[in-house]
């Protein structure tokens, strides 16, 4: 458990962001508080994973490219693909076909099965109907890497 943060997300702001969606109506008091916690865990997870990429590249700064790679690799972050679409590809060229990537495990916080190489998907979305923006459904148990 990492309950060590001094800073917290502003709960009222979270509620406003939620209500940007017209479908969202009333929200119980506890709800944005829970989302704040989930968001914290999410951010830590994203940072952890992205930093692994940073280290793999022997870099000292976490860049957008590292984030992008992390997002593309991990099922759990599928809903973020659109956001990183405009980010320069990690290898500089469009559609790095021969990238070695750590295989995307469908487990939550672990990404430990190194050693499997697969072609990272270029800018198009991964197959198996993974075009999830807001509606990432049952991301668990689906591996969508193309193995050669």
């Amino acid at each position: 458990m990492r309950k060590k943060y001094k800073t917290k997300f502003p709960v009222a702001r979270i509620k406003k962001i939620m209500q940007m969606d017209e479908d969202v109506g009333k929200v119980a008091q506890a709800t944005p508080i829970l989302i704040s916690k989930a968001l914290e865990l999410f951010m830590q997870s994203l940072i952890d994973e992205a930093c692994m990429e940073t280290r793999a590249k022997n870099a000292k700064r976490l860049t957008a490219a590292h984030l992008k790679k992390t997002i593309l690799d991990k099922d759990q972050f599928d809903f973020l693909r659109d956001i990183v679409e405009n980010v320069a590809d990690p290898q500089g060229a469009s559609g790095g076909a021969d990238e070695n990537s750590v295989s995307s495990d469908t487990k939550m916080e672990e990404d430990d099965d190194a050693g499997e190489s697969s072609s990272a998907p270029p800018k198009t979305r991964a197959p198996k109907g993974e075009g999830k923006r807001r509606k990432a459904r049952n991301a668990v148990k689906e591996e969508d890497e193309d193995y050669d």
């Binding site: 060590k4 009333k26 506890a30 709800t31 940072i47 000292k60 957008a64 809903f79």
Partner: protein, 142 residues
């Protein structure tokens, strides 16, 4: 912390300074975060909120409820593949419920039986309050 008038609620994002502080707390000591990476991270966070809110909302509607409750958020996390977050999120929920109970108790003990006044004092107070109310009524009638 006053929310000044914003042109568009659709430009809503998370406060940069807060997020920057959190990033600093979360990053390992030997790696720095580039500025545009921070902005990108913020976008990811906002998207996460939308994702979770949308899913929770759907779950809420299926139960024909109108208010998105804590339980809906928890179910949403499961549905979206964030089971790993559940233990800590549930702790937060329990803490919140406990806090609410304390607040309710405090409200109740603001009532007279706990106010620490003797019966005579209370009687005097009551007489006084009635007199004031009567006066107010008479002034209103004029």
């Amino acid at each position: 912390m006053s929310d000044t008038e914003r042109g568009n609620d659709d430009d809503l994002s998370l406060p940069k300074a807060t997020v920057q502080k959190l990033i600093n707390e979360m990053m390992p000591d030997d790696i720095a975060c580039a500025k545009d990476t921070r902005d990108l991270l913020i976008e990811c966070c906002v998207e996460f909120i939308h994702l979770l809110a949308s899913e929770a909302n759907e779950i809420c509607e299926k139960e024909t409820k109108k208010t998105i409750a804590a339980e809906h958020v928890i179910t949403a996390l499961k549905a979206l593949g964030f089971d790993g977050y559940l233990p800590e999120v549930e702790v937060v929920l329990q803490d919140h419920k406990t806090q609410q109970k304390v607040k309710d108790k405090d409200k109740r003990s603001g009532r007279l039986e706990f106010s620490g006044k003797s019966e005579e004092e209370l009687l005097l107070e009551q007489t006084r309050l009635f007199a004031e109310a009567k006066e107010r009524q008479q002034t209103q009638q004029h």
